[in-house]
Each structure stands twice: as structure tokens, then as C-alpha cells.
């Protein structure tokens, strides 16, 4: 084996801690009460079309997309709509959500709930995109960007390659890994559907070489097929970032401030490919996803197939309870995830994991002055100067921050991870991004 593919600029290798990688995907019970937030994706929140007291079935449309970057939301459970009210979600705020009291588990008509594999792709490109749009599918990697938007390249641009993201570079998380092992065939069919929708002839599936079983399994499945290639990538964080994966996979660089379609690439997560398969072949909208619940102190680290709207507390209970020395609960992975303030927060389309950190792991280091070691600049995968940008964000020099391309920051946290002075670089970077973004939007308005 020669030198493995990876991206060239920056990157770190945090301890992988993939302790739940051998736990098969378990289907978790339907919750007693589902909280379905209306704003689950990037962009505008959806508009509810059900009323208080309505009876809904699994897979029934609850809320419609409003605007271009917005998605449909379907009922993950069957039962009675208790109320449409504000409920705490992953954002840390109370936002509009549909709260459903579960009664039984009755599915809407037309959904194929069997596990039989459907190989034949009968629909054409337009119909596929329409179906994906109607099923409310979003990027399952965490950012929750509506998938159909990515499948419609802007005029003048065409896609050459489809890249399926099976990297899962975040430490601890194993949801995509297990999905590839257990639903490999479905992912391949999903990939073919996406290829047909985009009208491309070549797809790559990028997997890091810390998942040899998944690489072998996927290779086996595409053995006689030339148009799908499984690529082994060197373990390097943040390889799961779109721009990093494109660099690693096809050696192209996305220009600053542009989308991957600029270099003819579309990146989709393996979870998204699976959801696409279910939506197109089985008529099943996005109502469930695989979530990793893990942590060093967790008795039974697991991967759960869970309905959207299930409270996180139920998932924690299913891993044999909350460890007594838990200091922090993180929604997502340890690098890019966000600490949550309550266990009543529901699982949404973009939740990839729940990480329970021990008290001693979770506390922040004491901040001390910068020693100018330039480690943050060295590891930045976007080639930025994190310390300069964070100081610009902290002290309000937004002009400098904008000129030094603060908006290119992908918030991967590599800079803060390695900082020997324990400076919360990413916090101030995010603050700067927030302010600069606001200034840029206002400028666009005027």
C-alpha cells in the first residue's frame, strides 16, 4: 500500500476513542412524547400544517418547507398533536416545535416498512430530486443542509464527481461506521440514486483507515462496479469537512467563499445516502436516524436507530443510565459538538451523537497568555491564522477579521485543541464570524 490519501494543509490526530464501534445498531423504543422542532435544518424553519388535537400517523407531513433552503418535516410517531409550542432544542433556546403524544405505532399509507432490498432505480433525475425534497432529507453529517439544494447545481455549473463521506473523523462517533457495516448495500443503491440525480458517472466513497472492516465490506459490495470507488484515507481530523474531503479524494481545492460545485464535486454523507435510498425506494421520509451514545464512563456505549423527536434522556437511559461523574453532555462529537443544557432536548435530523464526558475530562484549561508557538496556524486546515482572527473577534476589529478571511473558518476546533496556552480560540473565532457575518448581511441589504 502506497501513501494514503489525505488533505495537505494542517489537520490534527486526536485520540479516536471509538469505543462504540463494535456495538450493533439497536432500534430504540418509540418515545412516549415526541418533540419535533420546526427548525431542524439550516435556513428557514418550516410551517406547521397540523393543528392541536389532530391525529397523525408515522410518516405523515407535519410541516411544510417555506423558502428555498427549508425542508418538509414528517411525523416520526403516531398519535395526537398535544400542542404546537416553544420547546427547548439543541440551540439552547425555546423554539417552535410540534409536541405529539404517542399512541400506538401506525404508519401512513404507501410506506414500505419491509427490509427487502429494492435494487431497480426506476425514476429519472427530476423525479428523484422531487422525492428527496418531499421526504425532507437533510445532510446527516451534522450541518443539516437540505440535500435537494445540493443536487440542483446552479446554472452553468455541472457536477463531475459525487463523493460519499464515510470519513467520520470526529472522535467517539461511530454511527456512520456501523451504518456502512450493516446497511452497506442500501448505501450503495443510495449512492447510485444520487449519481443518477446529479447525472455523474463517477462516485468515490471516502473512508478513513481506522475502519478497515467498513472499507473491506464496502469494497466487497462494489467489486465488479467501476463507477463507484472506495478510497482509503489516512486518519486526519477534520477530513470529514467537505473541502478537506474533496482535497483528499480528488485533489481539488474549493476557492475561498465558494461551494464544492465550483470544482465539480458534490459531497454527501453515508447517512444521507441511506436516507435517500429509503425515501426513493421505500417511500419513507426522514423520520429516524442512527445516533451514537458514548463516553468513557458510559456502561454500554451504543449506536441507536432512533426516531426524530426522542428526548436525549431516553437514549441515555438505554445505555444503562447516566454515569454519576458526568460533567458535560455534548450533542454531536467532542470536537464540533455543543454542550446541551437539558436532557429533555430531542434528537433532530442533524444529531449524530450524544457524548457524556466525565467531570475531569470536561473542564476547560486555564487560559494563559499566547506564547507565539504558531501551533494553531500550523494545524489550521483552512490556512488561516487562528490567534490573529480570535483576537480580532475578541477586540472587535471586524475589518481585519474580514480581510483575513474569518468567514472561511470551518469551526473544526483544531486550533484550540492543540493550544498549549489553553486559549479559547474557537470561541472568539465564532464570535468574530457571527459579527462579521452580520456586517456582511447588512452591507448586502444596503
Amino acid at each position: 500500500m502506497g501513501i494514503l490519501r489525505t488533505f495537505v494543509l494542517g489537520g490534527i490526530h486526536p485520540t479516536e476513542n471509538k469505543i462504540s464501534s463494535n456495538a450493533p445498531i439497536e432500534t430504540i423504543n418509540v418515545p412516549e412524547q415526541a418533540i419535533v422542532p420546526l427548525g431542524q435544518n439550516l435556513g428557514a424553519p418550516s410551517t406547521p400544517i397540523v393543528n392541536k388535537g389532530d391525529m397523525v400517523k408515522v410518516g405523515q407531513l407535519l410541516a411544510e418547507a417555506t423558502g428555498f433552503i427549508s425542508t418538509n418535516i414528517h411525523s416520526p410517531v403516531s398519535g395526537k398533536v398535544l400542542k404546537i409550542d416553544n420547546a427547548l432544542d439543541g440551540s439552547g433556546y425555546k423554539r417552535p416545535a410540534i409536541i405529539i403524544n404517542v399512541e400506538g405505532d401506525e404508519w401512513a399509507e404507501g410506506i414500505d416498512t419491509s427490509t427487502d432490498l429494492v435494487n431497480e432505480i426506476t425514476l429519472d433525475s427530476k423525479e428523484i430530486i422531487e422525492k428527496i425534497k418531499n421526504a425532507g432529507i437533510v445532510g446527516m453529517g451534522g450541518a443539516a443542509f437540505p440535500t435537494y439544494v445540493k443536487l440542483m447545481p446552479p446554472p452553468g455549473k455541472t457536477a463531475e464527481f459525487l463523493i460519499i463521506n464515510g470519513v467520520e473523523c470526529e472522535p467517539y462517533l461511530t454511527a456512520d461506521h456501523r451504518l456502512m457495516l450493516e446497511k452497506g448495500q442500501e448505501i450503495i443503491i443510495g449512492t447510485r440514486i444520487l449519481m443518477k440525480a446529479l447525472n455523474v458517472d463517477k462516485a468515490f466513497i471516502g473512508i478513513e483507515n481506522n475502519k478497515p472492516d467498513a472499507i473491506n465490506h464496502m469494497r466487497e459490495l462494489v467489486r465488479s462496479q467501476d463507477d463507484i470507488e472506495v478510497q482509503t484515507l489516512k486518519v486526519q481530523y477534520p477530513q470529514g469537512g467537505e473541502k478537506q474531503l474533496i482535497k483528499a479524494s480528488v485533489n481539488r481545492e474549493v476557492p475561498s467563499g465558494k461551494l464544492p460545485i465550483e470544482v465539480g464535486c458534490v459531497v454527501q454523507n453515508v447517512g444521507t445516502a441511506f436516507a435517500v435510498y429509503e425515501a426513493v425506494q421505500k417511500n419513507k421520509p426522514l423520520i429516524e436516524r442512527v445516533v451514537t451514545v458514548t463516553g468513557k464512563a458510559v456502561k454500554k456505549p451504543s449506536n441507536f436507530l432512533t426516531r426524530i423527536g426522542t428526548p436525549i434522556s431516553q437514549l441515555i437511559d438505554a445505555t444503562a443510565g447516566l454515569p454519576s461523574n458526568t460533567g458535560k453532555i455534548i450533542g454531536g462529537g467532542p470536537m464540533m459538538g455543543k454542550a446541551i443544557s437539558s436532557v429533555d432536548i430531542p434528537i433532530v435530523k442533524g444529531s449524530s451523537g450524544v457524548l457524556l464526558m466525565k467531570k475531569e475530562e470536561s473542564s476547560r484549561r486555564v487560559e494563559s497568555p499566547c506564547i507565539r508557538c504558531s501551533k494553531c496556524t500550523y494545524v489550521c486546515p483552512m490556512g488561516l491564522e487562528p490567534f490573529l482572527l480570535s483576537q480580532a473577534g475578541k477586540l472587535g476589529n471586524y475589518e481585519l477579521a474580514e480581510n483575513e478571511s474569518i468567514m472561511d473558518c470551518i469551526e473544526c476546533g483544531s486550533c484550540q485543541y492543540g493550544c498549549p496556552a489553553g486559549i479559547p480560540l474557537l470561541d472568539y473565532l465564532r464570535l468574530g464570524k457571527l459579527k462579521v457575518g452580520e456586517i456582511m448581511r447588512n452591507r448586502g441589504k444596503n
Binding site: N86, L88, S91, G92, Y93, K94, K338, A339, S341, S342, S363, R364, K394, P424, D427, Y428, R430, L431, L434, K435
Partner: protein, 334 residues
Amino acid sequence: MDNIIVIAIIALGGLGLIAALILYFIANKFKVFEDPKIDEVEEALPSANCGGCGFPGCRAYAEATVKAAKDKGSLEGLNCPVGGNDVAQTVGNILGLEVEETDPMIAVIRCNGSRTNSPGKVTYEGATSCAFAHALYSGEGGCQFGCLGLADCVDSCDFDAIHMNTETGLPEVNDKCTACGACVTACPRDIIELRKKGPKDKKIFVSCVNKEKGAPAKKNCIVACIGCGKCDKVCNFDAITITSFLAYIDFTKCTLCRKCVEVCPTNSIHEINFRPRKPKPEKPKVVAPSVDTPGVKKPTNEESAKPSEQKLSKPKDVENTIAEKPVENIDKKE
């Protein structure tokens, strides 16, 4: 030797003279006329360069006032909050204009979610910036409208007028406040408001900005405004409005009568710099005439003609109701 010195003096002197002439004509040609009043006005200003007037610094404000005096003949809308009435008067004198007196203002913190009133449910250890924490989550106490306590307002103040109280975790404004409005823009949650200073610094305001319904608001903070509307009913001056379960007292209409403070069930309306109230036993007497005040319930001519009878009958009614209640309770228990 002498010759050289003379030549040098003549040559350099001549050169200087020519340069001076060129500069003189150029200076005349490109002369920018600047009203000397601008300098005078600037001299009179506090030179804080705080931006409270809406202009980038005192010089820009001075230019604007002189321009407004020339074009419009009035200084309407141009107000230096730091200088107040004295400076406005001096500026008016310089420009030869009459200046209306404005009410002095002060910044008011409209949140009382201290550590005891809104105990922390989670611990925050990120960057010490309200703007950042605001983008991240609702706050340690769980109220998504309340003060985050990370002192963005303190950092923004140029006048040393706002400080954090370490006990409550809330900022406090002292009398150095000039109402420049820097803290109002710095607060990501719009908690700080500029209100009329009032006679002897007396003011009444709703110390809450929570727009949630009563139950969820009170769950996070015991002194939250629940939007019950009691204050609105008791106010005779139409100063209180309730929008999305939150009362707001309009300081231009408020007469500082303090009735709303008494009725507020959650103590979210604050009265500041008032004398302590009279002791409680006198309360029924205070309540009885308040019912008859015009605007709430107008007494008919007959009734108002016999005030003595009315006053006598009222306490009796009160006694009756008090007497009846225990009897009811006993019946129920049996």
C-alpha cells in the same frame, strides 16, 4: 569669503520668498472656509467622543449643530446626552438659538434574575462575552431573555458608570451614567433601556424582559413578569402596555404614583429612590378611595354627595366578607 555668504543669503532668501508667494496663492485658491463657531461649539462639548449623539465624535456633532442652525434654524433632534441641559444651553447661546430643555435620562437594567432569583441550572465556562454566550444558549438560569452576566455592558461604558455586582451577578448603574447609550447597543438581549431620570432620581420600571407565558417564565425566575395585567388595570394614566405577556411602563406617561408596584404579584415592578411606604394597617383606607377615583369607576352624583356614608359602609362590607369565608371553609371540611 564674505561674498559667498551674501550670495547664499540672497539665493536662499529669494528661494524662500518665491516658495512663500506660491504657497500664498495656492492657500488662497484652495481655502476651505470653516465656520469659527464649530470650534467654539466643540470647545463647549464634553469631549468624551462617546458617540451617544449618533455622530462619530464631538467634532462631527459640532459640525452638525452649526449646519443645522444655519439650514433649519433649530437644533431639533441634536442632543448631546452627556452634556445635558447645561451644554445644550451653552451651544444654543453660541449659535444664538433658543434650546428646549430635555429630561435627563439614565440607563436602567431591566432584569432582576440574580443568582437567588434565578438559580443556575448549568455552568458556563466559555468565552466571557455576552454576545458569544447569547448565540450559544439561553443562560445559566434558563431564562432566554435575561441577563447573561458576562459584562459586555461594563466593557462598553466609557464613563465608569456600570459595574457588575459580584453577589447578584447583575450589572448596576451608578450616577456617573450620562445616558450615552453604549451599553444599550452592547447588550445582545436589549435588557438595558434609557429612561427618564425623574425628580430626585425617582423611577418606576418593570425589571423584566421575559416574553414567555407566566408559567414557563416563573419556572426559571421567581421575579419574572408573568403578564397578569394587574398593573395595567390599576394604572389611571394609561402608562402600562402589555405585549406578549410582558408589561412595559411608558415613562413619558408615568406619574410615579406607585400603585402598580403594590399590585405586582411577582415583585417585578421596581420603585427606586422613593421614601419608604406607610405601615400596613392604613392600607384599607388607601384602597377604599382609590376605587372611587375618576377613570376607574365614576361615582354617580348621589353617591358622591354622601361621602360620609360611603366610607362607613365600606369597612362593613369588608368585615362581612372576612366573616363569611371561615364559615364556608368549615362547611367544606365537614
